[in-house]
């Protein structure tokens, strides 16, 4: 038997292949689920660590061990991308409420790299327990993992509005998202109000949530952009730092930036 050749047109191949890739990237890589605010890799990390009992009331465990479990059971991709996702969840200048408690050098706000995963140790933070609680009570749908050996959740039964609290960024094909983090207390109050006033307006809710709460601090300039973002999903926020200018010898000046929001 010679080559089995099927002829397909470029546009058909491009369409099919790109369609498949974009479906995957939108659905299973770059964008968070609105319900638990997690991207698949993050969800898998939390789920795997929870499954292994690697929680806040247990001692730290080597990061490499957790990464290995995630990779072998749920996430058939490179180790570095899993570890990077894990480190990000632990960086308190990136996320408002870190979901992972990491011991060791987990990088810095100046974008220094974290220590390799064979050095650092990690466990779930206390608040992650709220995201994972009741998982064993048939609260969410489970699907088979990539090699059909075990089950993983399609979403976590989060009790906290993680998407609003920790925000999200993601760029996929045709779609992208950028949601700023918010204050846990403010959001909770707004939600309590919303429970008793299901038809509350954005204006009423903004009595509780004044705006985003960046973990790095900073002063937000103007409310228009925030209101527009809450109403339409698109808005602009200008953040500046508090600056102290003091005189030095020889007519020089010294600038000290406090509460600086850097990305």
């Amino acid at each position: 038997m010679a080559d089995r050749i099927t002829e397909l047109s470029l546009e058909a191949v491009m369409g099919e292949r790109f369609g498949r890739y974009s479906k995957y990237i939108i659905q299973e890589r770059a964008l968070p689920d609105i319900r638990d605010g997690l991207k698949p890799v993050q969800r898998r990390i939390l789920f795997a660590m929870n499954q292994d009992g690697n929680t806040y009331d247990h001692p730290y465990r080597k990061s490499a061990k957790s990464v290995g479990n995630v990779m072998g059971n749920f996430h058939p991709h490179g180790d570095s991308s899993i570890y990077e996702a894990m480190v990000r969840l632990s960086q308190n200048w990136k996320v408002r409420e870190p979901l992972i408690d990491m011991n060791g050098n987990n990088g810095s706000i100046d974008a220094d790299p974290p220590a390799a995963m064979r050095y650092t140790e990690a466990r779930l933070s206390k608040i992650s327990g709220e995201i994972l609680t009741d998982l064993d009570k048939e609260t969410v749908d489970m699907v088979l993992n990539f090699d059909d050996t075990t089950y993983e959740p399609t979403v976590l039964p989060s009790r906290i509005p993680n998407l609003l609290i920790n925000g999200a960024t993601g760029i996929s094909a045709g779609y992208a998202t950028e949601i700023p983090p918010h204050n846990l207390k403010e959001i909770s109050q707004a939600l309590i109000y919303l429970l008793s006033h299901p038809n509350a307006t954005i204006k009423q809710l903004m009595r509780y949530v004044k705006g985003p709460d960046f973990p790095t601090g900073g002063i937000i300039q103007g409310l228009d952009g925030i209101q527009k973002a809450y109403e339409t999903g698109r808005g602009k926020i200008i953040v500046r730092a508090k600056t102290i200018i003091s005189d030095l010898k020889g007519g020089k000046k010294k600038l000290r930036l406090l509460n600086c929001h850097t990305k």
Partner: protein, 708 residues
């Protein structure tokens, strides 16, 4: 032994009339797959267009009925209803006799796309039923045909009517002849839109009754050609406004619309009497030479080209040009090369197009001084880039430059032993891990391996200079050895087949699109000559319980079903995810061995569609891409199947997979008590779509998920 196999006068058979069409449909409509199916509609629409071209009727309606029958309605003069000299009613002659038509110069039509007089009779021959309704001379007439053009009764006079004259033709393609009988809305829409662009003032409508609510679109352009060029450049940044040139000589009417965009490729479409001339011909040659000439003259006059400078080449001045040429050629001059109407042969067309374009373009450039000079500067930049590319290519070929030598030594490419460019194959492999097993598994006599690390640069967005700097791409250009861009020469390529071999996962799909984009933009002749392939690793492996059977592989769901339905024994089903899962010998056996592998050859069917698809999917504008995704991607939790399945519109791959696996499990549970998965095989988890609009039809409410 040979049986009584005589070949004498009795074995020569003359196929009579429509019988010939049914026996050999390929000769009349090209093929009996989806393309041929849609071709039937074009034949009828083209007849309506010819009618409108003569100035009769300004609306053409196409309807897809629920049973995939098609109705085409025009408001022309209606088919003649008198008795033909052959003794049959004229509509019956038109619809049942080959080479019967009004376009052989008898004066019925001044210009027409139709030449052979076979169109409507071919459609009739290939339909299981066809009905024609004619309104003419204040009367309504009707005749039915069934089973490939057999008339039911004769032409019936339905009496007087006040309706507008015209012809309504409804036909249902014969499922015995076509491999598929489902019409694609998008394909027809594309074609009707194109016709509407070329027929300014004529309204085309397309209605799809198969969906609820009924889908209806109308295409109607007052300045058709301008709109066409606007459509071609829709997703791109444009330079200047749309230029239009028109003129008439010796009865040939020439219309040209053109606009530059900020891309680097050229899109030139030509039409003769509204029929696309895919392979160009004399009119395109005339357009090209006039375009180059006018620009060079203007550049010299404005001193942007000095006396000692060389003239700009055609490809320089046409970089980023999108142009549409439409010709109306009277029947006596009309000449095509070959059977199909893909290439215009009329010698007069060359001179006439040349003269008209040259004159009007020169005037346009003089009148729009600033814009003209900008275009010249753009062309000069294109020339610089072209020369740089040529230099790079020459250097890499002779190995003169130090840089090229280093690249050669960096040795990512594992070359083939023989130098036979007519047989050698180049495998582009995703990642080093798969590259290793490909290298071990190959037949080193004629197969070369080039592993690519990570994602390839998106060449739709990047500039040529950046592309040449990119290591992955420059190794690729060097390995192929035919140059790059406008300079690319297929004859210099060192390989007969270039095979893209990526993992069968989603990132693999992305790498395929990126590589195809590169080949499309910078080595298009390779695609046109059919030298670009995609390797298809098998999707499933069926491993049998008993040692007697060898493992079997399935590429599509159909194959999987065939394999598993034939066996009664126990088997184990695995789904391949990456090339790295296979060891070298397995990879050779299933994917690389010319004797047993499956390949996809990528071809360009429709230049406009290909260009648009590439710009939409890979370009830098997000909006059109999102619209495309929303229209074409269904977000489910299904696992993607083989491209061979999905292109045919069969997307229930995971259903087949589930079914087969279910069978496998049931079989196992009969024989073995313990299983790897701690689940009863009849309680599957409920799968919902990601948006949680739960599939309520799923009845597994009692699913017990106390796993953790």
């Amino acid at each position: 032994m040979v049986k009584n196999n005589e070949y004498n006068s009795d074995s020569i058979k003359i196929l009579e009339g429509l019988e010939a069409v049914r026996k050999r449909p390929g000769m009349y409509i090209g093929s009996t797959d989806g393309r041929g199916l849609h071709h039937l509609v074009y034949e009828i629409v083209d007849n309506a267009v010819d009618e409108a071209l003569g100035g009769f009727g300004d609306e053409i309606n196409v309807t897809i009925h629920e049973n995939n029958a098609i109705t085409v309605q025009d408001f022309g003069r209606g088919m003649p209803v008198g008795m033909h000299e052959s003794g049959k009613p004229t509509p019956e002659v038109i619809l049942t006799v080959l080479h019967a038509g009004g376009k052989f110069g008898q004066g019925g039509y001044a210009t027409s796309g139709g030449l052979h007089g076979v169109g409507s009779s071919v459609v009739n021959a290939l339909s299981e039923s066809l009905q024609v309704t004619i309104v003419r001379e204040g009367h309504k007439w009707e005749e039915d045909f069934v089973d490939g053009g057999k008339p039911v009764g004769t032409l019936r006079d339905l009496g007087k009517t006040k309706e507008h004259t015209g012809t309504i033709l409804t036909f249902k393609p014969d499922a015995n002849i076509f491999s598929t009988t489902v019409y694609k809305y998008e394909t027809l829409a594309e074609r009707l839109r194109e016709s509407a662009f070329l027929m300014s003032g004529v309204k085309f409508t397309l209605t799809d009754e198969r969906v609820d609510p009924i889908r209806h679109e109308a295409y109607h352009y007052d300045k058709g050609l301008e709109a066409f060029v606007g459509f071609l450049n829709e997703d791109k940044g444009t330079i200047g406004s749309i230029m239009t040139f028109e003129g008439q000589q010796e009865g040939i009417i020439v219309d040209v619309a053109a606009q530059y965009n900020d891309g680097y490729s050229e899109t030139l479409l030509s039409f003769v009497n509204n029929v696309r001339t895919q392979d160009g011909g004399t009119h395109e040659a005339g357009f090209r030479s006039a375009w180059t000439k006018a620009f060079n003259e203007y550049a010299r006059r404005t001193n942007l080209l000095k006396d000692k400078d060389k003239n700009l080449e055609g490809s320089d001045v046409r970089e980023g040009l999108s142009a549409v040429i439409s010709l109306r050629v009277p029947e006596q001059y009309l000449q095509f090369e070959g059977q199909t109407k893909d290439k215009l042969g009329t010698p007069e067309a060359r001179g006439i197009v040349d003269a008209i374009v040259n004159e009007t373009l020169s005037r346009f450039l003089m009148e729009n001084g600033d814009f003209g000079q900008n275009l010249i500067r753009k062309a000069l930049r294109a020339r610089e880039a072209r020369e740089a590319a040529r230099k790079a290519r020459d250097e890499s070929r002779t190995g003169r430059s130090k840089n090229a030598k280093e690249r050669l030594l960096s040795g990512k490419l594992s070359p083939a032993q023989s130098k036979n460019a007519a047989k050698n194959e180049l495998f582009l492999v995703e990642g080093d891990s798969a590259g290793g097993s490909a290298k071990q598994g190959r037949d080193r006599k004629f197969q070369a391996i080039l592993p690519l690390r990570g994602k390839v640069l998106n060449t739709e967005k990047a500039k040529l200079a950046d592309i040449l700097k990119n290591e992955e791409i420059s190794t690729l250009i060097y390995a192929i050895g035919g140059g790059v861009g406008a300079d690319f020469k297929v004859a210099d390529a060192a390989f007969d087949k270039i095979i893209i071999m990526t993992d069968a996962d989603d990132d693999g799909a992305h790498i395929q699109t990126l590589l195809l984009t590169f080949f499309y933009k910078y080595m298009r002749p390779l695609i046109e000559e059919g030298k670009i392939y995609i390797a298809l690793p098998p999707l499933y492996r069926v491993k049998f319980g008993s040692k007697k059977h060898d493992d079997q592989f399935a590429w599509t769901n159909d194959e999987l079903e065939t394999i598993t339905s034939q066996t009664t024994g126990r088997y184990e089903l695995t789904r391949f995810k990456g090339l790295g899962e296979m060891n070298a010998s397995l990879l050779w056996e299933t994917t690389m061995d010319p004797e047993s592998r499956t390949l996809i050859r990528v071809k360009i069917d429709d230049g406009v569609l290909a260009e648009k698809r590439v710009t939409t999917l890979m370009g830098d504008k997000v909006e059109p891409r999102r619209n495309w995704i929303e229209a074409n991607v269904s977000f489910t939790l299904d696992e993607a199947g083989s491209i061979l399945d999905t292109v045919d519109g069969d997307s229930n791959s995971s259903a087949v997979f589930e079914k087969t696996r279910q069978k496998q499990k049931n079989m196992q549970s009969k024989t073995t008590a313990t299983k790897a998965i701690p689940k009863q095989s009849d309680t599957q988890p409920k799968i919902t779509t990601w948006q949680n609009d739960a599939t309520s039809s799923d009845t597994n409410e009692s699913t017990n998920l106390n796993l953790f």
